[in-house]
């Protein structure tokens, strides 16, 4: 590949963000933009650019809509080759927009989901090119697949 792949790494706060940071070495040498919900998380990133979005859960539809719009804008500006997310809602929105623009997507379902895939993890199936669980017993031949864990 002639130019560095452009990576958009996106997650909501807390455990989702902590897990995204743990896979950051996989983006080394890429042109990476991290996107999350708290400004203060900027100090956590090892390299690359940083953008923030409003935090929202699926219980607050207005905030959720604002989040979706901001994510669409960020994807349009960043034009990533690959989008990766550890969850939750921000990853879903980013995948929907990124796929329209021809980007490839990686879903890494949170290690917190040890018995069933997360709700968002199930919702992203049609939009995930690499659809990963962190639990071997949750992997199936038709997906999701297992490719290691953050621990």
């Amino acid at each position: 590949m002639a130019k560095k792949p452009r990576v958009l790494a996106i997650a909501s706060g807390g455990g989702h963000w902590v897990q995204l940071l743990r896979v950051a070495p996989a983006f080394e040498g890429c042109d990476t933009c991290f996107v999350t919900v708290r400004r203060s998380y900027r100090e956590d990133i090892p390299f690359g650019r940083f953008r923030t979005i409003v935090d929202a859960t699926r219980w607050n539809k207005i905030k959720l809509a604002r989040m979706a719009l901001k994510i669409a804008l960020i994807v349009l500006l960043e034009r990533p080759d690959v989008v990766i997310s550890t969850g939750a809602a921000p990853g879903y929105f980013a995948f929907r927009v990124a796929r329209l623009l021809g980007a490839r997507t990686i879903w890494l379902d949170s290690i917190a989901n040890a018995e069933v895939l997360s709700m968002t993890g199930k919702m992203v199936e049609p939009y995930a090119d690499l659809w990963l669980t962190q639990w071997e017993h949750l992997a199936t031949p038709s997906g999701p697949s297992y490719g290691g864990s953050v621990i």
Binding site: G14, G15, V23, P25, A26, S40, W131, S142, G148
Partner: protein
């Protein structure tokens, strides 16, 4: 100088069942300094110092200076404790009490409760007894700052594979449809 315990329930939702149980324990144990990040909880502790939300640097300082952590069974809390090799007591949020969307924290507590240095209280009635032992619990094996080599390589390979190769990385999907 007494020991220090840092209690955290994350930033997004309060967890009054846990915080009030820790507060009750703190009242009985004035020799131990307890500090809590309570998020948007409605119970305000009386026997320990607390704040609603710490920024990452302050949060890290609290973790580093604590002898043990107590928190909800969230992966942020568990991974942070393991990275700093601090014993941690976790109590799962319950879906049926609207403390989170489902019982995934119960599953997390089941899975991680067998690790050295990780103690589990299934409910608030178990907190005091477990806090009594956590300061003498074994420290967990320190966890590095990155994911498993396998996972980093899985992701790196996918990123650097050309678009046409993507299908070979992911198993072919079938018609099973379980989405809501």
């Amino acid at each position: 100088m007494g020991s220090t315990i840092f209690a955290t329930v994350g930033a997004q939702m309060g967890f009054d069942r846990l915080i009030s149980a820790v507060d009750a324990w703190a009242k009985q144990h004035p020799e131990t300094t307890v500090f809590a990040q309570i998020g948007p909880g409605s119970y305000e502790p009386r026997s320990m110092e607390w704040t609603r939300l710490l920024e990452p640097a302050a949060f890290r300082m609290r973790v580093e200076t604590a002898d043990a952590l107590v928190g909800h069974a969230g992966m942020g809390t568990i991974i942070t404790a393991l990275q700093h090799a601090k014993p941690v007591l976790i109590m799962p949020r319950r879906g049926d009490r609207q403390e989170t969307r489902n019982d995934h924290q119960v599953a997390t507590a089941d899975r991680f409760g067998s690790k050295p240095g990780v103690l589990v209280a299934m409910d608030e009635g178990d907190i005091a007894r477990k806090l009594d032992t956590i300061l003498s619990a074994d420290r967990p094996d320190p966890l590095g700052n990155t994911a498993s080599t396998q996972l980093v390589e899985t992701i790196r390979r996918f990123i650097h594979s050309a678009g046409a190769d993507a299908a070979s990385v992911r198993p072919p999907s079938d018609s099973t449809e379980t989405d809501p």
